[in-house]
Symmetry: C2
Subunit: 361 residues, 2 copies
């Protein structure tokens, strides 16, 4: 595998140009690019610019609205439901999170459910918007059905990620940002490309047998919830994924469960939708709504230090604080640049040719 490394600025400019060609306003193109770039910077390569041509393909099929009129359709002092008008989740989600933050400024907390949206990038981006305001940020989204609930032999849930982000004092924020499946689909895709077996407990084949063949997912198989099997708590992963689905979609009026429209353009959305687009859910809570912010930060620093000092099984490994590896990536890549594998560069150059913008290299 060959890597090419690009500066953040170069990739940002390229990405903005793609979104401009899609017809986004300059502000929206900049925002959408910022979400994708943050993912690449944080080392979550599966959710960054590698997905650009996926967004474009959905737009070509008129399943993404490049000029949405995003609206609050329902509201109380601390709650709101936002209709994303079929826009890019990369734009709709920050819009919604900002409403949650504004409500939290006034009332202590703010909570926003979103319908009629699309893939929103990494959950962590949105939760971290709240952290910048000394708030706890919460974000989640439902996603294309790939996961079979415990006992099921059918894909009914997405990898439905949830994220909780907390501001620390002298350390980077604690960011728990996780898919509720045993393994993210991106990990399976890596194994598919390399034709390597996957661990038992990630996926089952079309007959519901646990399988180490990464290609089974394309042949009618399913991903498994966090916990992998009943004995190891897969009903908990299923319950978490269900929670994300209900908060993101049953509460907002989006599609849920098997009705969630697929991210990939070659699969058609169900013909009998139960709501609009995909759904998200966001929360912002002022830390100083509970105790003085500095006290919270001091104690979270203490929490972090204690966990980092933990006795480990392998003396060469430290306990990892959630969000720590992504922060380290971000520090490094902001200066050293962002490496992309040749297949992604090739794909982006093809996209550039199609859209009539400058190639990456």
């Amino acid at each position: 595998m060959t890597f090419y490394t690009f500066t953040e600025e170069k990739l940002r400019e390229f990405t903005e140009n793609v979104f401009l060609k899609m017809g986004c306003t300059t502000a929206d193109a900049q925002l959408a690019a910022d979400v994708l770039l943050r993912s690449d910077l944080r080392g979550i390569d599966s959710h960054g610019v590698a997905r650009l041509s996926g967004y474009i393909r959905l737009w070509e099929k008129e399943r993404i609205n490049a000029t949405p009129v995003i609206k609050v359709v329902y509201e109380t002092a601390t709650t709101a439901t936002v209709d994303g008008d079929g826009g890019l989740g990369l734009v709709v989600a920050p819009f919604a999170m900002k409403i949650a933050i504004e409500k939290a400024k006034l009332y202590g907390t703010g909570w926003v459910a979103v319908r009629n949206s699309n893939h929103f990038g990494i959950a962590g981006y949105h939760a971290l918007l709240a952290v910048e305001q000394e708030m706890i940020g919460i974000s989640m989204t439902n996603a294309s059905p790939l996961v079979a609930p415990t006992y099921a032999n059918e894909r009914l849930l997405g990898t439905n990620p949830m994220c909780y982000a907390f501001p620390a004092g002298k350390y980077p924020p604690v960011v728990v940002d996780m898919a509720t499946a045993a393994a993210a689909n991106g990990k399976l895709e890596i194994a598919q490309r390399a034709n390597l077996p996957i661990p038992e407990g990630w996926a089952q084949d079309k007959d519901g047998n646990t399988s180490t063949n990464p290609h089974q997912l394309k042949e009618g198989g399913s991903l498994l919830p966090l916990g992998s099997d009943k004995d190891h708590g897969s009903h908990k992963g299923y319950g978490l994924s269900a929670t994300v689905d209900i908060l993101s979609a049953v509460l907002s009026g989006a599609n849920y469960g098997p009705w969630v429209p697929p991210f990939v353009s070659f699969l058609e959305p169900p013909s009998d939708p139960v709501g609009a687009g995909i759904g998200h859910f966001f929360g912002a809570m002022r830390v100083d709504g509970f105790r003085p912010a500095q006290e919270f930060k001091d104690h979270l620093d203490n929490w972090i230090e204690r966990f980092k000092q933990a006795k480990t099984v392998d003396p060469d490994k430290q306990v990892i604080i959630p969000g720590e590896p992504e922060y380290a990536f971000e520090q490094e890549r902001r200066t050293a640049g962002i490496p992309l594998i040749d297949a992604v560069v090739h794909d982006l150059n093809e996209l550039a040719d199609k859209l009539g913008i400058s190639r990456l290299n």
Copy 2:
């Protein structure tokens, strides 16, 4: 194993008498008994009256205050921090949840962090208080350190449960109520009593090797987070447990991580506390803060129906809706009574003799 079956009324009266002997007010004794009985009714036998003598032993050691002055110590429109004054979590938690509900009535949502509390029973009890008001209920608590984070060979987190409860229409509420460890400690205790091996992935021994010996936990071993190992996402279970710990304790001013005081009276609390007692976190969100309540309930009914109709691996098994088995237990046990194993009955009768109240049988 012999079971004796008691009516709900009989067990309730007995439990109230125990709490009255502890010095609780009549209202508090009734409330604490209600929380424990609900657990037995819902089939969560590990968290019901079987724990009564544990609460008494902590009270005897002056680690539970039977007559707490529970106070709101910090507040905004939608947030509060409650100091439980060392009271029974069974009493402090409903107090806090009711504040969250009152705030939600006024502002759409309410969020309460709690410090200086004790074991609060089942998380589901408290979340369901919100569901009765057509709200989404959220409850969580930290707990005695038993779980090693990914890579650690040290117990730094509790089995830290989180619960999300949602009101449905014609079906019982959806209640996701789960420990964030691969297996609850209660399951290990059952294996210990029966001297049976446990599945790999539940626990590790004192050297950090995965172990099928259920007694390892008492010999310096640890429980493992949901996900069991890194390959299967144990960092996610660790991240969830960390989230519960931070929301329950770093936010409220309770003890966190390895400083959480143990539930068992024979282990002393750490001599260098970082906060007060154990911590909880509660939330209540009005469904109609997001969309008309009937619409939400209709769609949640549809969600439930679709998941129950899922194609299953074993045609004799149905996909289980979170909370469904507990609801079925509750319907059955309200009329058929609550079965207790002989060891628990023996323990409760000894407790009765010690306190000078009527035996169970």
